[in-house]
Amino acid sequence: MSNENIVKIENLIKRYDQAGVIALDGINLEIKKGEFVSIMGPSGSGKSTLLNMIGALDQADEGSIQVSGQNLMEKKDFSSFRSKEIGFIFQLHNLIPNLTASENVQIPMLQTNNSDEEMVKRATELLGSVNLGNRVDQVPTKLSGGERQRIAIARALVNHPNIILADEPTGALDSKMGDIILELLREIHEKENMTLILVTHEEYVAKKADRIISMMDGKITSENCTL
């Protein structure tokens, strides 16, 4: 972990006007490069919304947010920012069912001008590192939930992102499989010095992080270092 802030958020507000909901109500948050942060809180407290703001999937209404030096309040298309800086992992793996494991992993690389061989090589390498070296040409429908989530992890890593955003990645798995996924994420975080931001409901999962951020009604209620 360095002292440089990779995420810097001030007074961030996000409203869903139609629903009259204030999903984020003045968030202030700094996350250091290489840090592992977990976000906890009850359902509807704004965890996913915050993660989507950091990943530039959606834009806030007020305040400021800087990620990897990018001002995300700008009105522009952030697809290349997402492509270079962010790796998303969702609760549901969201793999494309008719593509093989390898092809699913390659999907983000189609946007970044790689040769066919480079793409295949990178996908094979990553699937090997998540222990799926023998499932490269299998379609997701023939794989277990844990195996699918490992493919999704490989996909998130494929473009060498600086930040991994994981929204309840173990939520749909049994605890044993969840542990394996979690351990894998921690390993990657340590080895690659990636910043890992993980949303979870479960205390024991959250405790593996360097810091736990608790949310309630769109506000951060506490920031506890686990050490």
């Binding site: 492509s83 092809e103 946007q111 295949v120």
Partner: protein, 398 residues
């Protein structure tokens, strides 16, 4: 993995949906090709029948004395003869002179005009067969000029001497005469050597003999009409107006009634086939849009993921339009095969007898172009919708 393999994989993902779209577009392409083939072929067959040999226009005396009305050549329009005044009495010489005629020297000088390929004099008259009151129209023309008047000998041969005559198919049936039989009128006997058809019912009721024979019979030296064919590179219209300028006592008639009738027929077929084609296109277009819209909405969540992993709008547009283009291409190939196949079936079942099939590259390109156009245009709106999806909304989509 290449981008294009992703596109192709996506097409085969929902096979029944893709097959429906392919059928829709294929029907469009087949309709364009099949109907186009039939109308083109009809038009070119007709054109061929009309232009080989047939005269471009005819030259007539500018006033017709008491002789019927109008009198175009090949006359579908009641032709200048057969007015009751033409038949006087029931005995003796019943010939009617051809009324006002064009003299031989005028015919000669028109034949010499630059731009005239052929100018053939024809004489028209009418008579009654000996011993009957059966009227018979007569046409005198040199045998080598028969084709100028659209005369096709279907049986036997043309006349070669002054006692030979050829009989129109309707007349032959009506008179119960065939080749080798004799025909007597004005106390002269002719041998029927051929049966002809012109496609014109009036002409098919008459008989044709050599010009000089008819001139002798009617005591005329002139002709009632000159059939003119312009040489290659000369416009028939300008040639005809030049003739009316040079000879103020002559008029020209370009209204080839037979041609007009056929032309009308072709136009009706063409507009009919256009109507069917437009409907087919509409069906195909709706099919493409509906398929791609369904495909996009089924994959809303997936499109959200593509955005989350960094795909830009352009790439998502390219994916969806690419899919609809490939769909359209596959459909086009199938449609072309169906279209050509359908026409082949029609030919082999003799429904299109007498039609010369003209499969042109243009027609194929037209069908391919329209189908691909459908593919692109039908894909644009769904692709635009997909590219505009808000990623968070798309990811929440169940």
């Amino acid at each position: 993995m290449k981008f294009r393999s992703l596109i192709i994989k996506n097409i085969f993902r929902n096979k029944s949906r893709s097959i429906l779209a392919i059928i829709g577009i294929a029907i469009g392409a087949a309709a364009i090709l099949g109907l186009g083939l039939v109308t083109d072929s009809l038009a070119s067959s007709t054109q061929q029948a009309l232009t080989t040999g047939a005269a471009d226009f005819s030259v007539l005396p500018s006033s017709f004395g008491g002789h019927g009305s109008g009198g175009g050549f090949g006359g579908g329009s009641g032709g200048g003869f057969g007015g009751s005044s033409a038949f006087n009495g029931s005995s003796g010489a019943t010939f009617v002179s051809a009324g006002q005629t064009i003299d031989q020297s005028t015919l000669n000088s028109i034949q010499q005009m630059p731009g005239v390929e052929t100018a053939a004099g024809v004489l028209r008259s009418a008579t009654e067969l000996n011993g009957t009151t059966q009227p018979l129209t007569l046409l005198g023309i040199d045998s080598q000029d028969l084709s100028l008047d659209d005369v096709q000998i279907t049986n036997g041969s043309a006349f070669t001497s002054s006692n030979q005559i050829i009989l129109g198919s309707t007349a032959a049936t009506g008179l119960n005469k065939t080749i080798g039989d004799q025909l007597t009128f004005d106390n002269q006997t002719f041998i029927v050597v051929g049966i002809y058809e012109t496609g014109d019912f009036m002409s098919d009721r008459g008989a044709i003999l050599s010009l000089s024979t008819l001139q002798n019979l009617t005591n005329t030296t002139g002709v009632s009409q000159i059939l003119v064919k312009a040489s290659n590179g000369t416009s028939p219209t300008s040639l005809s107006s030049q003739i009316t300028q040079n000879y103020t006592n002559l008029t020209t008639s370009t209204s080839l009634s037979g041609f007009n009738r056929m032309n009308n027929g072709i136009q009706i077929i063409e507009s009919g086939s256009w109507a069917i084609t437009l409907i087919a296109l509409l069906v195909a277009g709706v099919m493409v849009v509906a398929t791609m819209m369904k495909s996009v909405s089924d994959r809303t969540r997936e499109i959200g993921v593509l955005k989350a992993v960094g795909w830009n709008k352009r790439r998502i547009l390219a994916l969806i339009i690419g899919e609809s283009m490939i769909l359209a291409s596959i459909a086009t190939v199938i449609g072309l095969i169906i279209g050509v196949g359908a026409v082949e079936v029609l030919i082999s079942s003799h429904i299109l007898n007498g039609i010369h099939i003209a499969l042109s590259l243009n027609l194929v390109l037209e069908a391919v172009g329209v189908a691909l156009f459908l593919g692109i245009v039908g894909g644009i709106y769904p692709a635009y919708r997909a590219s505009r999806l808000a990623p968070t909304e798309a990811l929440r989509y169940e």
